[in-house]
């Protein structure tokens, strides 16, 4: 059999400061982009009109631009979409046009039609997609997307606190928060359009990264029980090394599918696939270099009973690891559904 990293014994945790510096530097660059350029919100969030059009003959983008300017759509952006005869025209609602609201969208749609008639010629184009979103819907959606990410943190924390212990939960949430910030920075650097689908991708990254962290933490929990003499530093390293083959395989298959989506699944899905591809990297990185060191740090700051995290298991571990522990748990302790094996 092929065995990748069969007896891996890398000291991952040793490099934690380097890792922090690296991710810190990357994030600073990303946040710089975020502050200076901001996010490219889709009309779902800003309100406005989107028209995707397929031209039957090639037209210079500058001509389209001029035609749109002529009909008074100066703020509209034009983007090729897939091929050079396919364009997406976006006109976001501005603060001034918000008062007119939905009537504004109707006017924009009519104006885009006029501009296309002028520049391409009537009947020389097909409208493939048309979206018009009122300002109210956009505002609602912004709130909802924010709530969704926040809520996913809270639910995760509760689940992990229930399943593991608050130290683990906190470490996992810190790692996940890192992924969200890094992903948003990535979206800003790549200037990807933030649509609801991209928010969905961010939430999927949250789930995926968490999933990865849990796999390692699950091993940490088990190893803490198994090797009573080692300290948390060693246990963390051991657990990461033990789960390394799984990480490589699973990330390999997931990356294979996201790359297939990125390259083959078309323009609409591409921003989603970009975010997912990046999310797999940052999720893997954060499980090893954020979640584990943060757990170590939390354990130092608020030590568990024997100062190595064993309290996570109700401090009822028996002298010999092979004998199952009695299920009696003090009521104040977090419950662990799986008795020590």
């Amino acid at each position: 059999m092929i065995r990748l990293f069969a007896n891996a014994n890398y000291d991952f945790i040793k490099w934690r400061r380097w890792a922090f510096s690296l991710t810190g530097a990357i994030m600073l660059v990303g946040l710089g982009f975020l502050v200076t350029r901001g996010l490219n919100y889709s009309i779902e969030f800003t309100g406005g009109t989107l028209v995707q059009v397929e031209l039957h003959r090639k037209v210079a983008t500058a001509d389209l631009r001029t035609a749109l300017d002529n009909v008074g759509l100066r703020g509209a952006d034009i983007q090729t979409f897939g091929s050079d005869t396919s364009y997406v025209i976006r006109a976001r609602l501005t603060a001034t046009s918000e008062a007119t609201g939905d009537a504004g969208n109707e006017a924009v749609t009519a104006a885009v039609g006029k501009a296309l008639d002028q520049s391409v010629g009537p009947g020389q184009y097909t409208i493939l997609r048309h979206e018009a979103v009122g300002p109210k819907v956009g505002r609602e959606l912004q709130g909802k997307a924010f709530m969704a990410i926040l809520l996913s943190f809270v639910v995760t924390l509760i689940y992990l606190a229930f399943r593991f212990e608050w130290r683990f939960g906190l470490a996992a949430v810190v790692a996940t928060a890192h992924d969200v910030v890094a992903t948003i920075a990535f979206i800003s650097v790549m200037h990807l359009e933030v649509s609801l689908i991209v928010v969905g991708a961010v939430l999927t990254v949250v789930g995926y990264s968490l999933n990865d962290t849990i796999i390692i933490f699950d091993r940490v929990r088990e190893n803490l029980r198994k090797y009573r003499r080692q300290n948390l530093y060693e246990i963390l390293n051991l657990s990461i090394n033990e789960t390394l083959p799984r990480s490589v395989l699973t990330h390999g298959t997931t990356i294979a599918t996201t790359l297939a989506l990125l390259i083959l699944a078309g323009e609409v899905i591409r921003p989603f696939a970009w975010v997912m591809s990046f999310g797999i990297f940052t999720g893997t990185f954060s499980s090893i270099y954020i979640a584990a060191p943060v757990l170590l740090w939390i354990e130092k700051r608020w030590p568990g009973e024997d100062a190595r995290g064993a309290r996570a298991f109700g401090s009822r571990a028996p002298a010999t690891p092979s004998v199952p522990a009695p299920p009696a748990t003090p009521p104040s302790q977090p419950r662990t559904p799986q008795p020590a094996r």
Binding site: A148, T156, I197, T204, I214, T257, A265, G266, I269
Partner: protein, 540 residues
């Protein structure tokens, strides 16, 4: 051995159920017959997976009660009644499986798959279609009140702007009454603002306003002080379209009784046809028994009066004179408008009026060709993704990997069947989620296989290593999948249409992967070990 048989029965049953839920079946489709304009049912055979609008093309509309012209006190009630009306209209509109549903409290979602004409769809959904018949102002009450109204306007400081050269207009018009009216205004030496803009029409209660002036007049008659000065029991309604008299275009303004003699509620039947003599589009209608009695009583009292047919606040055509008692049947004349418009009007009249006007707050139209491209690209990406996963799994885990791949085909079957059986909709993000979940689905198998390898390294026997591998991997599998399901549930709660499709696909995918990766693969392992009891090394 009996245990394996039980497991096989269970898997077999799941496969059979999945296939049953995916067998193409007949779906009823209402389409409009292009020749006659009527609806007819046809049946098509297709796989029962609902495709989202982004995959099959169509129109998505989000509507709310229009509060801009005055607050609607109970929008939830209004939207519920509107939902029934819109549903009736849409059912006759001619699309497959239209969606009409209330979202939240006061929002209505309408989705029309495959429909290509957003303008027409919008007008059918949005049209209030409130039909009423009112007698015009036969006694000239409005005309008598005009000086008072103008006095009110003068008090409010409104100067006449458009009345600079009314004489030319009056001449063009050529009506004696108009001249007389204008004269009376100059006699008073204070040309009233409104009076100078209105010209007496041909029938009682009809006034004409030059086309370019009508926004001004409209703003004047909607002023509160003008409304207060209006004679009791009289209201003003605009004509539905401008008409040209001589070289200029005019719009008619009608003074009508505030009380309708009958409304569209009494209407039971409306059709559309083209009048063979005049070649005009007409909508003949029929009233209910009760409505007909009321209508004939009222018309008997108003013989030789003019009756305005008002639809959504606009007078349709010139009000006809009532020559004799009218019974159950009547018709609305639409002039030269296309028959399509007449049949849409008949459709909304049959379905009834909306309780309140609706405004569109979100609209998406996706062309069918775009959807077809998305499906094609999505399937190609899916096939390539799956091929890569198969290569990785078999390349790394050999025979065990092949078992996992076999389970993966069942995973795809179960997921699609889950979508079909629960009637969920497959959207483009859903398709992406499905492709992505194939990558994630093998994670459970990777976890299990790595465990088995570790147990083997620890020197356990084959069978024990397999059993323990499954057992010890369970914890991690359950924890990680529950956390993914939780985020997917949040996404479902927050998202709309396409994103909900993604969340649903992810959740069903995880449930299916639990069954395929753990239960199916375990069964395959058990069969494998039973067939080869002498095996000493596991191909893993």
């Amino acid at each position: 051995m009996g245990k394996i048989r039980q497991r096989l029965y269970f898997i077999g049953a799941l496969i059979v159920l999945s296939i049953i839920s995916l067998v193409p079946r007949n779906a009823k489709l209402r389409i409009r017959d292009a020749a006659t304009g009527t609806m007819k049912d046809t049946t098509v055979r297709r796989v029962p997976i609902n495709l989202g609008l982004d995959l099959q093309g169509g129109i998505h509309l989000a509507l709310e009660v229009d509060q801009s012209k005055g607050p609607v006190p109970d929008c939830a009630d209004a939207i519920q009644r509107a939902e029934r009306v819109v549903r009736t209209r849409i059912d006759e509109f001619g699309t497959t499986e239209p969606v009409v549903q209330i979202q939240g409290r006061c929002r209505l979602i309408v989705e029309l798959a495959g429909e290509k004409d957003p303008g027409r769809a919008k007008s059918v959904v949005q049209r209030t279609a409130f039909l009423e018949f009112r007698i015009t102002d036969m006694k000239g009450l409005f005309k008598d009140a005009l000086p008072q109204i103008d006095a009110a306007l003068r008090r409010a400081g409104v100067r006449s702007r458009g009345a600079a050269a009314p004489s030319a207009v009056a001449q063009l018009f050529g009506g004696d009454t108009a001249k007389a009216e204008r004269d009376s205004a100059t006699d008073a030496n204070t040309p009233g603002v409104l009076q100078s803009l209105l010209f007496q029409g041909q029938l009682p209660g009809e006034y004409l306003v030059p086309e370019e002036q009508w926004p001004l007049v409209d703003s004047l008659i909607n002023r509160p002080d003008v409304r207060a000065a209006m004679p009791r029991g009289i209201e003003l309604r605009w004509g539905s379209q401008s008409e040209s008299r001589g070289a200029r275009a005019y719009r008619a303004l009608y003074a009508v009784d505030a009380r309708p003699i009958i409304t569209g509620e009494e209407l039971v039947k409306a059709t559309a046809r083209r009048d063979p003599v005049t070649n005009q589009s007409v909508v003949p209608f029929q009233l209910s028994h009760r409505g007909a009695r009321k209508f004939s009583d009222e018309t008997a009292r108003h013989i030789n009066d003019y009756m305005a047919i008002i639809l959504d606040g606009r007078v349709q055509g010139q009000p006809p004179v009532i020559r004799s008692q009218i019974g159950a049947n009547g018709q609305i004349e639409l002039g030269a408008k296309p028959l399509q418009e007449a049949s849409d009007l008949a459709l909304v009249l049959r379905a009834g009026a909306l309780p309140a006007p609706l405004t569109i707050i979100e609209e998406r139209t996706i062309g069918a060709s775009l959807g077809a491209d998305s499906i094609k690209d999505g399937i190609i990406a899916g096939v390539v993704g799956v091929a890569l996963v198969i290569v990785i799994m078999i390349g790394y885990y050999r025979m065990s990997g092949a078992l996992a791949v076999a389970a993966l085909t069942l995973y795809c079957l179960f997921t699609l069947a889950g979508l079909a059986a629960f009637g969920f909709t497959l959207t483009l993000p859903g398709l992406a989620g499905f492709v992505l979940s194939i990558g994630i689905a093998v994670d459970a198998n990777v976890l299990i296989f790595e465990r088995i390898r570790e147990e083997l390294v620890h020197g356990k026997s084959l069978r024990l290593a397999v059993d323990d591998g499954f057992l010890h991997a369970m914890n991690a599998i359950v924890d990680s999948n529950v956390s993914t399901v939780l985020t997917a549930l949040i996404l479902y709660a927050v998202g709309t249409g396409p994103v909900q499709g993604f969340a649903i696909t992810l959740i069903i995918g995880i449930a299916a992967s639990m069954i395929s990766a753990i239960f199916v693969v375990k069964t395959l392992f058990l069969i494998w070990l039973n067939r080869r009891p002498d095996m000493v090394t596991l191909s893993i």
